[in-house]
């Protein structure tokens, strides 16, 4: 449908699901590491769960351009 339109390039499976899969993986690591322990584990959890938030911010800025 969209690939027929000029200027819209067809994306591969990897291009479509790459970032969602990465987000899922990092979020899962973040959630589990918060459960596993304190200290460094908590910091890992913060870093991992910050990724979807930063991604949202990045996409919002891209959309406003």
């Amino acid at each position: 449908m969209t690939s027929a339109r000029p200027g819209v390039r067809r994306k591969t499976i990897g291009q479509i699901f790459g970032i969602p899969l990465l987000t899922a993986l990092l979020s899962a690591i973040g959630l589990v590491s918060a459960l596993v322990g304190d200290g460094i584990w908590d910091s890992v959890s913060w870093a991992m769960l910050l990724f979807p938030i930063l991604l949202c911010g990045y996409c919002l800025r891209q959309a406003q351009k």
Binding site: L31, A34, L35, V36, D38, W41, D42, S45, W46
Partner: protein
């Protein structure tokens, strides 16, 4: 209370509880005493102390391991591990409350919540707009395209 002579330290109830805790955790590595229930309470039987042990790592701190101590002899009667599904529920409990990981994680949760609310509200807004006839952008585009592409049908 049992009338038979007890091997537990008698007298002060804290000493009895200590003894029960030691006996209960003797065979359970990785656990520490969380609660000692005296005989006759709802957490024990008429002739047993109920000892509830907690895991001693952050991952297992929510886990419980119950043990019954014979009140007459002070010996361990029985102890059980939790079924796997209760273990899974108890370990995942902090996910529900977002209570693990300190203040930064709470702030991250709050931001993620707000993002979710924005997605919900904008989606609702788009849906309501679509239902109002004539105000859909797609429908207007489709109408003008149809008019220009196929004048015979729309005329």
């Amino acid at each position: 209370m049992a009338e038979a002579e007890s091997q537990l330290p008698s007298g002060h109830s804290a000493d009895v509880a200590d003894g029960c805790g030691r006996n209960g955790t003797a065979g359970a590595t990785g656990y520490e005493t969380g609660l000692v229930a005296f005989p006759g309470s709802i957490f024990s039987s008429k002739s047993h102390y109920g000892v509830f042990m907690r895991g001693n790592t952050p991952l297992t701190a929510k886990l419980l391991k119950p043990a019954l101590i014979d009140a007459a002899t002070g010996k361990l009667t029985d102890t059980r591990n939790l079924p796997w599904y209760v273990t899974a529920l108890l370990i995942s409990q902090p996910l529900h409350f977002g209570a693990d990981g300190g203040m930064p994680l709470k702030i991250i949760w709050a931001v993620l919540d707000v993002i979710t609310i924005v997605v919900l509200i904008t989606g609702l807004y788009l849906w309501l707009r679509r239902r109002r006839s004539g105000s859909s952008v797609e429908r207007m585009l489709a109408a003008t395209q149809a008019a220009s592409n196929d004048p015979v049908l729309t005329a």
